[in-house]
Each structure stands twice: as C-alpha cells, then as structure tokens.
Symmetry: C2
Subunit: 101 residues, 2 copies
DNA sequence: GGCATTCGTGCATGGTTGTGCAATATGCCA
DNA sequence: TGGCATATTGCACAACCATGCACGAATGCC
C-alpha cells in the first residue's frame, strides 16, 4: 500500500499515471462515468477475459480511482472520486490540442 | 506515430497515461512548470544518468507534453501545452482525496 | 446439499520498459 | 584543427507488465 510518508509526491502521482497507461483501463473509467456497473458487463464490452478485467479493475482500485461493492454474486464498480471525470476531460483536451497543433 | 484515424481514443489517452507512469517523468513536468530549462539541469536534480533523462524527455515529447529548442550546445525544454499544469493539478487533487478519504 | 455465476489469484509465457555503459553526433571556443 | 560540454542512440540485461488458463472462494437458487 502506498504511503505518503515514505513515497515521493511524484511516485504517488505516477501511480495514477500507471493506472491510465492502458487503453482498457481508460475505457473502464469512461464506461464508469455513466454510473455504476457490474464487472461482468465489461467482458463483452471490452472483449477481454474476465481475469484480465479483474486485474485492470484492481489496478484502478489500488490507484484510488474506482471502488466496488458487492450485490449478491456480482460486484458493482463505480468511480471512487467525483473529480475523475475532470481528469479524463483534461486528458482528452490534451489529446485534442495534440492533434490540432 | 499514433494516428487518430487508426487508434481508439482510449489508446491515445493511454499514451499520455504512459508518459505520466514514471516518477522521473512526473518530476520533469513539475520542474518545467517553472519555465524553460536546459536538459543538463535535470541530471543533478533527479540524480539520473544523462541518457536516462534524455529518454524520459523523449517519452514526454512523443506524448506531446513537452517541446524543445536548441540554444547552442544546449537543448532547452518547456511544457508544450498550456493546459498541462491543469492536468498535473488534477492528478495532485486526486492524490489528496485519495489520502484523506 | 448440489449446481451455476461471478470474481479473484497462481502460474507460465511473451512483450514492453528502464537502466547503465560505451560510442556517436552537434555545437562552441580557443 | 583539437578539445570540451551537451545530447542522443546501440546494446545488453534486469525488471516489470499484460495475458490466458486453471483453480478456488463467495454467493444465490433449486
């Protein structure tokens, strides 16, 4: 578990960067912008093995970007922080300016 | 070279994520928030080999986050986009909410 | 209890990334 | 021209990451 007293600020920020460093994880975040979803929904949406989805969600969870709760046999995932969509839009803006300039 | 017509939005966004996925690169960006800097300044500041600095800057450049110009024997680096500090502050805000909640 | 569904994890494998050292460019100045 | 500082690249090696398969845990339904 990252600990701010032993890790640099950059190390913690790069943890979030690592979480965003895979297309599947970015897509998971974007899908979760619409609201809570069951993990099994992502399997057909992303076309990935359930174990792969599970691991990507674990990475996002460790970075503090998503959270989960159990509902019977399912696990429902949501964005953990209200400012995550803002981060994603910052990323998208950078992308746009990269393409247009 | 990434091409938006053949790559998904998520793939392009994750390119920026990859650029942020290393503490040294985050630190480079934060140092460049203060303004233009010669690459050789980073060697003592980060305590890394010049070749390593060079490669990290190349990653940031490929992601469109930094740009450079030559000044004699030196190469001066700067943030390529005015909204990069905003992205970094979004990251820092997420970190804060991660620690406090 | 028996069974199906959903998740997470151990393991093996292939691919990517980070690093240090040496060698090579590039530009400045004497 | 030679010498110096800065920057990049080739190479080899270690470390890390992503993936698929198989298996086990938790839950709900009959």
């Amino acid at each position: 578990m990252p600990n701010s007293s032993t890790e640099t600020v950059e190390a913690v920020l790069s943890t979030i960067g690592k979480a965003l460093a895979h297309p599947a994880r970015v897509e998971l975040l974007r899908l979760l912008e619409d609201g809570e979803r069951c993990g099994c929904e992502f399997v057909p949406l992303l076309g990935l093995d359930p174990s792969v989805i599970s691991r990507h969600l674990a990475v996002l969870s460790r970075a503090g970007l998503v959270a989960s709760r159990r509902d019977g046999v399912r696990i429902l995932w949501r964005l953990a922080r209200p400012d995550t969509p803002r981060l994603l839009s910052c990323l998208a803006n950078l992308r746009c300016s990269r393409e247009s300039g």
